[in-house]
Structure formats: C-alpha cells, structure tokens
C-alpha cells in the first residue's frame, strides 16, 4: 500500500486537494490507520501551533490603535495625501539613482573588459610563443592560430555560437545583461582557427560559470524526511500508562511489516481496554468515520500517541479511549473524554463540569482530553470554552464523551443560538439528547462564510469574538455590541451567509433584551424578528426558532 505523501497530508489538512485526489486520499485513509494517525497528529500540531502563535492583546489595545497609527503617520509628516500611482518609477529620485548607478557600473565593467582584452592581445601579438600561463588558458587550436589573426577581426564575421557564449559570460559578470552583452560582443576578439572557424579569445573558466549558473536551481529546500514514526509510535501506544510522559520524537517511519503486527496488538489492547469494567467505552459505530476522515481522525489521537509526543500526558490513558465511544456508567472510576472543535482540532483548557449532587469541574489538557470522577446518569455535563457555544447534556448511558464544540455563531446542532438555552431545554429531558454521540464523529459543519473574502471573514471573526465575550460577561450592552458587529457582517454578504448573520443579529438582540428588558430593546428585537421572518427562506431551519421567539415575545408582552 502506498502511503500518503507529506504534501498530500498537508494539503488534506487544508482541504486543498482537487476532488479526484481528495477522494483517492479519503479511500486510502479509510483503510490505512498509519496515515490516519499521521493526519490526526498533523491536525493536532496545526491546532496547537495556531493557538501558540495567537495572542489577543485585548479590546483596550485596539480601542485607540487607529489613533496611534494616525499619530505615527502625522509624526512622519505623511499626513498629506497618499502617494498617487501616476509617476513611473524611473522618474522618481530613486529611479534616477538606480539608473545612474547601473550606467556607472556598466561603463566601469566595459572599461575593465576593454583593458583586459587589450592587454591580452598585446601580449599575444608581441610574444609569438605565449607565456606558460597564457598557453594554459588557450586551447591548442587557438594557440596555434593566435598569431595569424588580427586583433580586431570583424565581429560581423563571427559565427553564431561565439557571440552567444560571450553574452552568456557577460550575463554572469554584469548587472545589465543585455547592454553588457552587446558591448562585449563588440569588444570581444574573435580568432580564426586553422580550420577557418572563428572563436572568441576569452576562455575564462567556462566550467565555473556553468556551475554558478546552475547553483540557484540546485539550491532549494532539502526534502523533509517523509512520513512520521507511525510504527514506532504505535509500538509505544500499547505500552503502559507509566511511559506516557516520555516524549516520542517524530522520526522517519521504520518499515511497514512491523506496523501490521503492531496494529493488531493495538487493536487487541484497545478491545481489552474496552472490555474492562470501570473506565471502559464501547467502540464507535463504524459508519461514523466514513464522511470526512479528518474529523474522525483527530479522535484517534486520544489513543495517546501525540500526547506522549508532547510529553504532557496526564489522565487520558487512565480512563480509556474517547474516540466516539459511549459512556459506561457502571463504575465509579474516572470517565475520560476528549473535546475538539468542529475542524477536529483538540481544544485545551476547556472547562468540563458535572453537576448533580455537588459540582465536579476539570479542564482539558493540551490534547483536549479530560477525565472526570464519578460521572453518573442524570448528571448534567457542561462543556464551555471561550469562543465556542457551550455544550450541555444530561448524561445517559449512551452519552458520548467525545465532544465537538461549535465556534460561537456557527449553526451546528449544538448551537445555543439555534436551540435557545440548552441547559433549560434539556435539563428536564434526561436521555433524550441523542445528537451528541454522533456529533463527535460527524463531518465538521461547513462554515457558511468560508467562501467569503478575507475582509468579510475578518468581520465574522470579530463578530464571533464579541459574541463570545458577551456570552462570558452576559451583559446587555455587550450583546448589543455583538448585534452591531453582526449587522456589519450583514451589510457585506448575501444569500446563506446573510441568513446566518441576520439570525445571529436577532439572537444577540434577544439576549440583550432578556438580560435587561427595556422598551427600546424590545422594539429592536421585534423589528429584527420581523425582518428575519420576512427575508429568511421558508426552508431555513432557524425560522422555527425565530418564530418561537416571536411567540414567546408576544406571550410575554401579552401577559
């Protein structure tokens, strides 16, 4: 089996493969655990990198950023009208300087060549038998015919190869190949060989020139070692938890034969683990990993490979696998799971809380894994993270602990925007929330804004950020600010993205109204509802939600 190349994996990660190649890669991934693991690792690394390289300086920093830029511009006396594009560069002072220096350089180079050749010809003319050094420079045929030819043999008589060669050398020696080339063609002396052919005099190290010409193309980036230490990691993956803290370097893959055996061992180990009573989980339904491997694959990291690789292993291996398995509530040991975002990236630092008799809280580690003690049916499990819709579920034996959080504002099945407040919606319906188990393994919901320009996506990102802050702070002004941001998005988009932005706008206004009801807020909320229902397509699922909100509002104001 031919494994995926690093470039394919990389492009797969970015969803940048052409449809045909993508299908072939998906087919391979469906059968090849090694490549799935590599992809999952790459995905986890990408997520961690994005997080490590992201830094939010806070709203305060941006509040006066534009003013600081304006001040800097003013300080540099750039506060005049910006430079217009009409002047060709050559007529700018810099252009003149460049042209002048190039001309000077050419003249100098030309003079140097002239002088060199004059000297050479004088030497040849004076000395019938050239000096040893000169003889070394000249080929036997040339040295034989050197005396016979006049120094300024007509260049027009030269045959095609000679001036071409001269120009080639000139190209290497001067910054302006065309001008220098023609000058040198005139300057270059041509000798008539005994057989009547004419060649240029200069023979200075053509080999060296050829080498230097080839150099740039030979440079290039060294190809990275292909593959990763899949087999090695797999071996490690069946080692006891005590080893979990030891980082495993990503090395090149050692041979494939070992892998099959290791896969079997691992599968066996996994199934044994699944049979163990307390922390055990059943394997996920097979159909679930079909549609988009990248999403499902990240779950595989829960097996601990990348965890060990990072050297941050903590609790994950204690509780067993979290890859979409359902919860076995028969024991009181720790129950472990994993939290991803909708792109399959592990989320670290996510707060996981179980509430019934008392509150137990934990956070996910670097790999998105968490373990929570004494989880029982009937507990309310809340998973919250900045920038994501909170996920709340009443625990049942079929609850999955492989949880996917949707970014704020994304209308996934878990979206509170779509469903209203989940806690109140589901707290009285224990066991009825069945979306969660499949949620973790379904393909990530496509972002309706993915086809938009960067500017729009940036606006959306800002709107989501502000919404996220509003959800954390839960104040009406914050939600109104979020509504304003969504209105800005709304002004830039059409079609499905506009439907989404309009819905987010209504949602934010609703939150603001609920938190601090005033007449103005009610009016704004109501007119947003009216606009949404007037413009949203009849088939849009959010219509039902907004219609319900309208009914609630009418009911509340009717009371």
């Amino acid at each position: 089996m031919k494994h995926l190349t690093d470039e394919q994996l990389s492009a797969l990660l970015d969803d940048a493969l052409a449809a045909g190649e993508r299908a072939a890669c998906d087919a391979h991934l469906a059968d090849c655990e090694a490549c799935r693991t590599r992809l999952a690792e790459a995905s986890a690394l990408e997520g961690s990198l994005g997080k490590a390289l992201t830094h939010d300086p806070g709203e305060g920093y941006f509040a006066d950023f534009a003013e600081r830029v304006a001040k800097r511009i003013a300080d540099r006396r750039l506060d005049v009208a910006p430079e217009a594009p009409k002047k060709p560069w050559l007529f700018t002072p810099r252009g003149w300087m460049f042209a002048g220096s190039t001309a000077a350089l050419l003249v100098t180079a030309g003079l140097a060549w002239m002088q060199f050749h004059n000297e050479q010809n004088v030497v040849r003319a004076v000395a019938p038998r050239p000096m040893t050094q000169l003889r070394e420079q000249v080929t036997p045929r040339e040295s034989d015919g050197a005396q016979a030819e006049p120094p300024a043999q007509a260049p027009t008589a030269s045959t095609a190869p000679a001036p071409t060669a001269a120009e080639e050398r000139a190209r290497n020696a001067t910054p302006n190949p065309a001008a220098a080339g023609s000058q040198l063609t005139r300057m270059h002396e041509v000798r008539t060989l005994p057989d009547g052919r004419q060649v240029p005099v200069d023979r200075s190290a053509p080999g060296a020139n050829a080498d230097s010409r080839q150099e740039p193309s030979a440079q290039g980036f060294a190809a990275p070692a292909t593959g990763s230490a899949i087999a090695q990691m797999k071996k490690k993956s069946v080692t006891p938890a005590a080893e979990a803290g030891a980082p495993v370097p990503f090395a090149a893959p050692s041979g494939a034969p070992a892998r099959d055996k290791d896969e079997k061992e691992e599968l066996q180990a996994s199934s044994e683990a699944a049979a163990a009573p307390a922390p055990a989980m059943k394997t996920a339904p097979p159909a679930a990993n079909a549609p988009r491997p990248a999403a499902a694959l990240s779950q595989d990291t829960a097996r601990g490979q990348s965890l060990r690789a990072w050297g941050t292993a903590k609790s994950l291996v204690l509780g067993g696998r979290a890859d979409g398995a359902k919860l076995n509530l028969s024991g009181l040991g720790p129950h472990c799971g994993k939290v991803h975002d909708s792109r399959g990236r592990a989320l670290a630092g996510v707060q996981v809380t179980a509430v019934q008799n008392g509150v137990r809280t934990t956070r996910t580690d670097a790999e998105g894994s968490f373990c929570i003690d004494g989880l029982k049916a009937g507990d309310t499990l809340s998973v919250m993270h900045v920038g994501f819709d909170p996920y709340t579920v009443v625990v049942t034996p079929s609850t999955s602990l492989a949880i996917t959080l949707e970014p704020v504002g994304t209308l996934g099945p878990n979206s509170t925007m779509l469903m209203g407040k989940q806690r109140s919606l589901f707290s009285d319906a224990a066991g009825t929330h069945t979306a969660a188990p499949s949620e973790s393994l379904r393909a990530p919901s496509p972002d309706v804004y993915s086809g938009q320009s960067f500017g729009v996506r940036q606006l959306v990102r800002d709107a989501r950020d502000v919404t996220s802050v509003a959800r954390r702070e839960r104040t009406a002004p914050r939600f109104e600010q979020a509504a304003k941001q969504w209105a800005a998005v709304l002004g830039q988009v059409k079609g499905a993205p506009a439907d989404d932005a309009r819905f987010q706008y209504v949602s934010a206004l609703r939150e603001a109204y609920h938190l601090e009801p005033t007449r103005d807020r009610e009016a704004r909320f109501r007119s947003a509802i009216t606009a949404f229902l007037a413009l949203a397509p009849a088939t849009l699922p959010e219509r039902a939600t907004v219609t319900r909100w309208e009914a609630e509002l009418n009911g509340a104001s009717g009371r």
């Binding site: 690093d6 470039e7 994996l9 990389s10 492009a11 970015d14 940048a16 790459a42 690394l45 990408e46 961690s48 990198l49 994005g50 490590a52 390289l53 992201t54 830094h55 300086p57 920093y61 941006f62 950023f65 534009a66 830029v69 304006a70 800097r72 511009i73 750039l78 506060d79 005049v80 009208a81 910006p82 430079e83 217009a84 594009p85 980036f221 190809a223 990275p224 070692a225 990763s228 030891a246 980082p247 495993v248 370097p249 990503f250 090395a251 690789a309 050297g311 941050t312 903590k314 670290a348 670097a366 320009s453 960067f454 500017g455 996506r457 940036q458 606006l459 990102r461 800002d462 950020d465």
Partner: protein
C-alpha cells in the same frame, strides 16, 4: 472598496475605518511572526503607516488583506535580517528559554500548556522566514492557498509545497527538542 477608493484620494477618515477593520488581523499576523508584544505592536502600526503611504498604488478590486499581509511579512523579514545582523538584539535567547517579552516571568505561571506553547513558538522561530510566513498565514490567519499566494507573491503550487516543507521541518524540530528534554 469605497473605503479604499476614498483612502486613495487622501481621505484619512476612510483609511482610519480600514485600520479599524483590519487591525486585529494585522496584529494577529504580526504577533505570530514576532511573538512578542512590543515588536508586534510596532510591526502592526508600521504596516498601516506604510499602507497609507502606498495605498495609491493599490489596485482596486483586489482583496486588501493579502496586500496588507504582504507588508507585514516583508517588514517581518527585514526585522529578521536586522536581528541576524545585530545578534545582541535577537529575541532568540529569550524564546529559547521559553520566555516571551511582555509575558509574566513568574515561573509558577508556566503551566504545561505554556511550556508546550513556548516550545512550539521556539521551534517555529527557528524555521526559515518564508516557512514561518506561510505557516502563520495558514495556521493563524486561516488564509486560503489563493490568498497566501497573493500575499507572498508566489504560485499556488509553491504555497502547497512550502507549507508541506514547513510543517515537516517544524515537526522534526519539535521531535529534536523533545529528544533533548528526555
């Protein structure tokens, strides 16, 4: 588009609005390339100062952000070159030690996550500038290959291969670093 056109005629207010609209994205990219607050602030501000100086040359109808990203990366590259020429101002030793400018130095606050992030940042900082740029534009800015190609003035095929190399290189360096630790 209207804001850009207005800015090209010297409308400072319109340009101010552009700054507000793109400030987060520009700062995010600047921080990912410099990984410290003061450089990122300087780079982000300088980007807009230069953008103001050159907005007249901006071709209307093109996306603005890749153009801004190009200014950020070009400046970051010259900063790297400058740092290399004047090693006494290099940020590398600090990054090596897992510390960052502008970040609390209290060791108690260095959790496992922070250590891992610092390690990642350090390895990222060791990559060639063009690898850093392509990775930052992809992993942090979430730009498409088209947009990255536009921002870095390279063909899409090069974006793809460069990303793959950059990821491979990062992985190898991380592995090396993990090996050192154990």
């Amino acid at each position: 588009m209207a804001l850009i056109a207005a800015s090209q005629t010297g409308d400072e207010k319109a340009f101010g609005e552009l700054v507000r609209r793109y400030q987060r994205a520009v700062h995010r990219l600047a921080w990912s390339l410099t990984r410290n607050d003061s450089d990122a602030d300087d780079l982000a501000q300088e980007t807009f100062v230069r953008a103001w100086g050159a907005i007249g040359r901006f071709e209307l109808g093109q996306p603005l952000y890749p153009w801004l990203a190009r200014i950020v990366t070009n400046q970051a590259f010259s900063l790297f070159r400058h740092r290399r020429r004047r090693p006494e101002t290099s940020i590398e030793p600090l990054v090596e030690a897992g510390q960052q400018w502008g970040v609390e130095d209290d060791p108690a606050q260095h959790t496992a996550d922070a250590e891992r992030d610092a390690r990642l940042r350090a390895c990222f900082g060791e990559l060639a500038p063009e690898h850093q740029a392509v990775l930052a534009l992809r992993a942090v800015q979430d730009l498409s290959y088209d947009e990255i190609a536009n921002a870095l003035s390279i063909p899409i095929g090069t974006v793809m291969s460069r990303l793959s190399r950059a990821r491979g290189e990062l992985k190898r360096r991380l592995a090396g670093r993990s090996g050192e630790i154990t």
